[in-house]
Amino acid sequence: MKIIALISVILAGALLVYATVDFPAWADPASPASTHLSPHFIEKTMEETSVPNIVTAVLADYRSYDTMYETTVIFAAGVACFLLLRIPRRKEPGERLYRHVLTGVTVRVKEGAKLPPSDDFERIDTLWTPPDLIIKTICRLLIPFIQLFALYVIAHGHHSPGGGFQGGVILGASIIMLAISHDLRTAVQRMREKVDVLLSAAGVFIYAGTGALCVLLGLNFLDYSALASVLYVDPVTARSHGILIVEIGVGIAVMATIIWIYNNVSSGGKYDEGL
């Protein structure tokens, strides 16, 4: 059976390699992709949308409908992870570990037992290593700069590589970094599950809502030049601003979904102890 699988894989691979011979050469100016649409984008993007980065203009303006559903797919992935993994019962965990902050003594609390109410104890994970001051401090120092860079990536997508997807992932990664360097409960306290769910839905809503607003103002779905009368700018600048608005929506959705998926995967749906 293994040999048959290997032969079929090799055959399929050989077919794919054989098919690449028919591809147009890399950067061939006579290829179909570079003869019809690309010249239009290269020549007209600046005067139609006033966005210097053609990729951003194509992604969020010319092919905006496509990107809207990409965002929806990411939201759907988050919902799927939630439905598959989340364990909604709020049951007290069987055995918990606490550390006395001042002395470093670890206390094991059995099922049903309670700790005397005191601020000197902090909860620690059962599978986790002792706290590392260096890692915690470095992450604390780095996270604001990472978030600032993410906001720059989202806002500067018009002029340089970047945009909602990349910026959103970097923003989400900063919270995941907090979860890895401290523990999952710290990160969940900063970014509650409700906030995750609401933000990931709100991002998609901002995107689709911008499109619907364009319809209400009398033009096609996601034709941002309709926003000119609302934003008090000329239609070309309105398209540039419209791209920024949907990029912000994408960024919010991606950030919240990344954190949401991470929380579900790393804690096995319990939101209690995780990586």
Binding site: W26, T56, P161, I170, S266
Partner: protein
């Protein structure tokens, strides 16, 4: 496009890809996937697709590797059956 650099990175992509499916340890496979994504990111930027390269670096090499490691963290060293 410098063909020597291209060839070297393509070889590394193939090695990382084959390594990721043959290696026994799940954590090693996750890290190899990260290396694979990073090599793909280099390839995209060699071909001038900087936006795709940026996305690959952030999503492929960053976020999905973290998801893989988080999922591996939930497994045990030996199967229970």
């Amino acid at each position: 496009m410098i063909w020597q650099l291209d060839l070297a990175i393509l070889t590394l992509v193939v090695i990382a890809g084959i390594g990721a499916i043959t290696v026994k340890d799940l954590l090693a496979a996750a890290i190899l996937f990260g290396a694979y994504s990073f090599m793909m990111c280099l390839l995209w930027s060699i071909m001038g697709a900087v936006d795709v390269s940026f996305t690959e670096a952030a999503v492929g090499a960053g976020a999905s590797t973290v998801f893989f490691v988080a999922a591996v963290f939930r497994t045990t060293r030996r199967t229970k059956d």
